[in-house]
Symmetry: C2
Subunit: 318 residues, 2 copies
């Protein structure tokens, strides 16, 4: 048998072991997939670029896991269960095989943790930084996908976990913020997708917080046609984020990379949602609520005055 | 209503009009999709990088159409009908809005031509060259996806269209090969996905030729567990490719970017396949056949001796 050229040998060695049902061992032009009976597919895609979404020196396994987890966070926001993913990897020529091995090992680890497998991919060279994309496929019971558009005045606004660790973690990873326990940098490098929390019937709307709490809640408001108020003092911050000082509060409210969920919760299901999240071991905190009005977000300081934030969140093209 | 930050305004202006059913107007975290009754989904992804897969000065509309069409070519190889796609676009900061407009116009044009629509995407910045990925979703009758693994000794080897125009077209676009009518450069910039040709029951195996005829047929052999012979003189070349001279024959046999199909055709269905392709207006040509033996490809010159090719095709990581 003739030897495979380098590209295909690399794929066979490192990516084929990650392939699951429908991936056809990555030897065909495409994967074949049908959702289980009574369920629909949910699909999302994210790109990540070295120097923009991760640091060039980050371990390849961590980069792989962040890429997978940011997409799982989108599935979580839709109330979907992860199923499989497709991947593109564009790398500088001469990238050592160790990099592929570490990247694939990170994927393998998270495949086990999240019960997901590789469906297909494409590996190319690039004269620029490492550029990645991942398309995640999940399933949801037919008609039960959770939307951004369902929030109604009177719903409470909840978030999962703590807010701001991602943005502070980038500073910590860059060495410009103290982070003695390494908590912040770890949260920047390794998001925790909040799967199963946004449960159909318990929340009226959900989205994942990836570009900054205030901006992302404003997207929720826009889709739902109502306004929101956030009480800044109630926004949960980690011990490490509080240790950075109150001067970092605006950054916590507007910085990216949290990958927590924002949830609109009707009064009738609030107790059930809190119990559901507690059973999953995921902290949820009410930080405000939805009110009638033009779609916008008001952030209130502890004394009730409105906080004036220079920007609501991250935009790649200001 | 508060104004959208630049990134989201760009998406709303240029990409939202491309969204179809299930895309939820691109305002949610993910798309929702179910295949029609009796059909499965077929999924494939390709990445394209400026300076690697297209020339930095290529028109954005052409880049968009090439990105879409290379993926449609993969669906064509599986015998699938296009349904929708997800997209990532990583661009240098400061990319003018004209670029977005041209890129979206190219997508809109091909959406109409191929009956496909946008399901979701992600737009980011990059410090490197334009980096794109596209995940294409198609459908096929359940159990009728065409595989690479079905070729059997005795099957004829056919290709669609002409071979080598993509590789010669790159030289033409770079100005190192005469191309008076612009045919070659056009074929490099704008692949013609051969949808509907690889029809279940008429072919035993198919794949698209993207990395070079010889290498891609060797993938088919490897998946099918047999060998193939290609008669070089029978490989169809365009008038423009023949005008370049016989010195370019090896490049035609091994260069990338053809996006034609290689088909394994059993004797019993050969006449029907030829008639089927003719009805679609797609030229098909027999260039050899499959034989028993270790998976490898022998290319025979006009006098029956074996052509020694320095390489079988393109690899990003030699």
């Amino acid at each position: 048998m003739t030897a495979l050229p380098g590209e295909f040998a690399l794929i066979a060695r490192h990516f084929r072991p990650l392939a699951g049902p429908g991936a056809l061992d990555l030897t065909d032009d495409a994967a074949v997939l049908a959702p289980p009976a009574g369920r629909e597919l949910v699909m999302t895609v994210d790109a990540m670029v070295g120097g923009v979404h991760f640091l060039p020196d980050d371990a390849p396994g961590d980069i792989a896991r962040k890429l997978l987890r940011t997409n799982l966070s989108d599935l979580a926001a839709m109330g979907a269960v992860p199923l499989g993913y497709l991947l593109t990897v564009s790398l500088p020529r001469g990238t050592p095989e160790d990099w592929f091995a570490g990247f694939a090992a990170g994927l393998a680890r998270d495949q086990t943790e999240f019960g997901i497998f590789l469906l297909g991919g494409d590996t190319t060279s690039t004269p620029g930084p490492v550029s990645l994309s991942l398309t995640a496929i999940g399933t949801v019971a037919t008609g039960e996908a959770i939307r951004r558009s369902g929030a109604r005045p009177g719903d409470a606004l909840y978030v999962t976990g703590t807010i701001g660790d991602g943005a502070l973690g980038l500073l910590a990873a860059q060495g410009t913020l103290a982070d003695p326990a390494g908590w912040l940098a770890d949260r920047y490098r390794l998001p925790r997708p909040r799967l199963n929390v946004a449960h159909y019937g318990l929340v009226s709307a959900a989205m994942d917080i990836s570009d900054g709490l205030v901006q992302d809640v404003s997207h929720l408001c826009r889709a739902s046609g109502c306004a929101a108020e956030i009480r800044a003092a109630d926004v949960p911050r980690s011990e490490a984020a509080r240790a950075a000082g109150e001067g970092y509060l605006p950054l916590c409210l507007t910085g990216g990379d949290d990958y927590e969920l924002a949830l609109a919760v009707p009064p009738a299901t609030e107790a059930a949602l809190v119990a559901h999240a507690a059973a999953l071991g995921v902290p949820v905190t009410q930080i405000g609520g939805f009110v009638a009005g033009e779609p916008m977000v008001r952030v209130l300081a502890a004394d009730g005055t409105e906080m004036k934030l220079a920007r609501g969140g991250w935009s790649h093209f200001p």
